[in-house]
């Protein structure tokens, strides 16, 4: 009980001193438009929306397959709509962009050490690219055979 009653002395709260003569630049709402690196980051973030779209599309495909031949034919009909084809081409571009940018960033986030030394970045990203190529080749073979 005595412990809970004990008053802890807290340091004074940190506050920003008022310096009217400092110039404080404002960040524009369009800060990401001026520089390619920033724009690339925003496009990478935006690519998540298209990743989500492909997930939804895959779920709809599975639902159509469960619904029988008619539902599947209806799904294919919707997919043949030019607007849908355009959306899927844009989505594919963003997903490739998403994959490449994240594969390239992976070594920085997950350094692997072997024999007391850090493995070169290419040793982390290269297997991811190889796995991507193998899976893509397998899917192509499944679809086109």
């Amino acid at each position: 009980m005595s412990a809970t009653r004990q008053q802890t002395i807290r340091p004074a709260p940190a506050y920003t001193e008022f310096h009217p003569r400092w110039y404080r630049p404002r960040v524009s709402v369009y800060w990401w438009l001026g520089e390619w690196h920033y724009l690339k980051f925003i496009l990478r973030e935006l690519s998540s929306v298209f990743v989500a779209w492909f997930v939804v599309e895959t779920l709809l495909l599975i639902k159509a397959l469960r619904g029988g031949p008619e539902a599947y034919a209806h799904f294919l009909q919707i997919m043949q709509n030019p607007a849908m084809i355009a959306l899927n081409i844009i989505s594919l571009f963003f997903i490739v962009f998403h994959t490449i940018t994240w594969f390239n960033l992976a070594p920085s986030a997950t350094p692997v050490r072997m024999g007391g030394k850090r493995l070169p970045d290419v040793m982390i990203s290269a297997p991811a690219y190889v796995a991507w190529a193998v899976v893509s080749a397998f899917i192509c073979w499944m679809v086109l055979r």
């Binding site: 003569r21 400092w22 404080r24 630049p25 001026g34 690196h37 920033y38 980051f41 920085s108 986030a109």
Partner: protein
């Protein structure tokens, strides 16, 4: 290579200006000159009122960081001849996202207080007596954190990070990289104390991994890597806290302090 080059320098006088403006100065281009040499030439021969920070002139003091053509650079390590080739002007501005005191001088108090919060020093539960000698470390143990220890606090990474600009209370790349430098040091026992500041929305979770901090770092510290590595460690620590609840008490205690 052109004989002369025009420097467009941001000027701000707190006594008379409401906002910075640019003034142009023509300087000779010498092969061995860096942007800082041009600034020194202007200050010595053209306009003594030009204000900027510099000290070592060899890329170690971290005080001459400025925006050169929109890129955060150490002006002592940025050759003028690189820009003179295409005949364009060189625009020199104070580091982005910091309050400006005068001309090219930024206010670093906010950065220093963030740095202090990250506790970038060795923390021991119990100091071993001097008679036991130094805390020994193997080359492998040194290699784990050495890259992060190269930071010179030049704040170029803050000027490159849009999160710093948009969210001024974000602790920032260098502070996190330096916290991680000590977390990964085999002699340090203070990682739980740093958790409260690092595993926080204004700590590593504020970072959206733009990666610009790493790109502009003149000492190849890779702050973005340090932040992402800490994110993974923080998640593993959080998961571990379910298995060993005592571990969680430590971070909570630190958070309440």
């Amino acid at each position: 290579m052109a004989d002369n080059i025009v420097l467009e320098i941001a000027r701000y006088s707190p006594e008379s200006d409401h906002e910075p403006h640019f003034e142009c100065y023509e300087v000779p281009v010498r092969r061995e000159w860096v942007v800082l040499d041009a600034l020194n030439h202007i200050k010595d021969t053209v306009d003594g009122s030009l204000t900027y920070r510099w000290s070592c002139r060899m890329g170690i003091c971290g005080s001459c960081g400025m925006m050169v053509n929109g890129e955060p650079k150490l002006t002592c390590a940025t050759f003028l001849s690189t820009y003179a080739r295409n005949g364009s002007k060189v625009r020199v501005e104070p580091l982005r996202y910091f309050p400006i005191i005068r001309d090219l001088v930024t206010e670093l108090g906010g950065f220093v207080s963030k740095l202090k919060k990250a506790k970038p020093w060795l923390i021991r539960d119990l100091e071993q007596p001097l008679s036991q000698g130094e805390y020994l470390q193997t080359p492998e143990q040194l290699d784990r954190y050495k890259q992060f220890s190269m930071c010179i606090n030049c704040t170029l990474c803050y000027a490159a990070c849009p999160v710093v600009g948009l969210d001024p209370i974000f602790i920032g790349p260098a502070a996190i990289a330096l916290a991680q430098r000590y977390n990964m040091d085999s002699r340090d026992q203070g990682s739980a104390e740093r958790t409260a500041v690092l595993a926080h929305p204004d700590g590593v979770w504020g970072c959206t991994f733009v990666g610009e901090c790493t790109r502009v770092c003149p000492k190849h510290v890779d702050p973005a890597g340090a932040i992402q590595q800490y994110k993974i460690a923080a998640v593993l620590d959080w998961l571990k806290s379910f298995v060993t609840p005592r571990g969680r008490d430590v971070s909570n205690q630190a958070a309440n302090d």
